[in-house]
């Protein structure tokens, strides 16, 4: 075992690609009630790559809109600013990582596919259990961002994690703990903090703070169950995939039944291919 040092984590996080300026700006105005939506819409439109992805998502099966959404301003008016902010964040993160030349090609696609499937399942689950859908989508998309950071930082060392996982038929998180001495959530938290993500999302992905008494416990349960559903639906294209063990407390808290789960399965499968294509994870 060659544990990862604190210095190395800092270094890995410093090497992170930067997010498009508009994404950072959207975080800053998260709690600002007097936010100038028109001005922000204009700024989103000016980043062409980002705007194309946002409009692609708005026009995909993700929303199932009947009429064509042709502009960011129109998208904001029909889908709401909160939804557009989530789409911009998703597109921004996808863009930042696609520009990352050092990521390991093979598992990079599988990781993104899993992240997208988790995001879609989280959004559908949140809707059913009365949690914020947009935040669940973003948290789902980023729940394994630490893994992407680890792979980008030291692909050779991460290959040892993969080998250990294969040899022991174990989940990646367990293999990470064995080989690197920590699991990816530690690095993920550092990465989101560096990107100035809102506390509500960082804490949802923080197992220490989201214990039974934490305010974000339910949101964290949504992500944990969405993660298992994403693996169960077998969407990441990895033949060795396995469903991680769910916490009974988190599962019970959502009080899911067949009807809700089947709708979540169906909604996730329905927009998966579209969203992957638009965010270029295919």
């Amino acid at each position: 075992m060659i544990p990862l040092s604190t210095d190395e984590i800092s270094e890995a996080v410093l090497k992170l690609p930067s997010l498009p300026g508009i994404v950072v700006e959207l975080f800053r105005v998260l709690d600002d009630e007097d936010v100038d939506v028109n001005l922000l819409s204009q700024k989103i439109s000016h980043d062409q790559g980002l705007a194309t992805k946002v409009l692609g998502l708005a026009n995909s099966s993700f929303y199932g809109m009947q009429s064509k959404v042709g502009s960011i301003a129109y998208a904001v008016s029909v889908l709401g600013f909160s939804s557009i902010r989530a789409l911009v964040t998703a597109a921004g993160v996808a863009q930042a990582f696609s520009a990352n030349p050092s990521s390991n090609g093979l598992t990079h696609a599988q990781l993104w596919k899993h992240a997208i499937a988790t995001a879609l399942a989280a959004r559908a689950l949140a809707k059913s259990v009365g949690e914020n859908e947009d935040q669940a989508f973003i948290a789902g998309l980023l729940h394994n961002v630490g893994r992407q950071v680890l792979i980008a930082y030291d692909p050779i060392r991460y290959r040892e994690v993969l080998s250990w996982s294969t040899a022991h038929d174990a989940e990646l998180s367990l293999a990470e703990s064995e080989v690197l001495g920590m699991n990816h959530t530690v690095v993920g938290r550092a990465a989101l903090a560096r990107w100035n993500f809102p506390a509500a999302i960082v804490e949802t992905l923080n197992p220490d703070l989201s214990g039974t008494l934490g305010v974000h416990f339910k949101a964290a349960s949504v992500i944990a169950v969405a993660d298992a559903i994403a693996y169960a639906l077998d969407l990441d294209g990895n033949p060795d995939t396995q469903v991680p063990t769910l916490s009974q407390a988190q599962w019970d808290q959502l009080e899911l039944n067949d009807e809700i789960l089947m709708e979540v399965f169906s909604m996730t499968e329905r927009s998966f291919e579209d969203v992957c294509t638009i965010l270029k994870a295919a």
């Binding site: 038929d169 789960l261 089947m262 399965f265």
Partner: protein
Amino acid sequence: MNDAKLVEEISLDKATSGMVLAKPILEKSGACLMPARAELTERSLHALKNWGVLRVTVVTSTDVDAVEPALGTITDQHKRIDALFRNSRQHDANRALMECLRRYRTREHHDPAVDR
């Protein structure tokens, strides 16, 4: 697993009777309107239009045997579910999720087409 050359998603107005569905048509609730492998007829096309279905995924290859592996049989899917839950099925929450997924996959295949 689906081979793009064997199956294709098309808009409903391009679908014609005689085409074979490569994926089931599901309602928003997840309920199956038509299962995979069902052949489209004038009547079912009309019904799908009334249900507001916009796109369908159909078999585009004439060689049905070549398409079969892409569709996957229900037995294959159940085997795959067993594999996915190989290390977690002994936990109650995982088993509940697995059993619901099994019912979901079975329904996709075996629900009677509404219009036949």
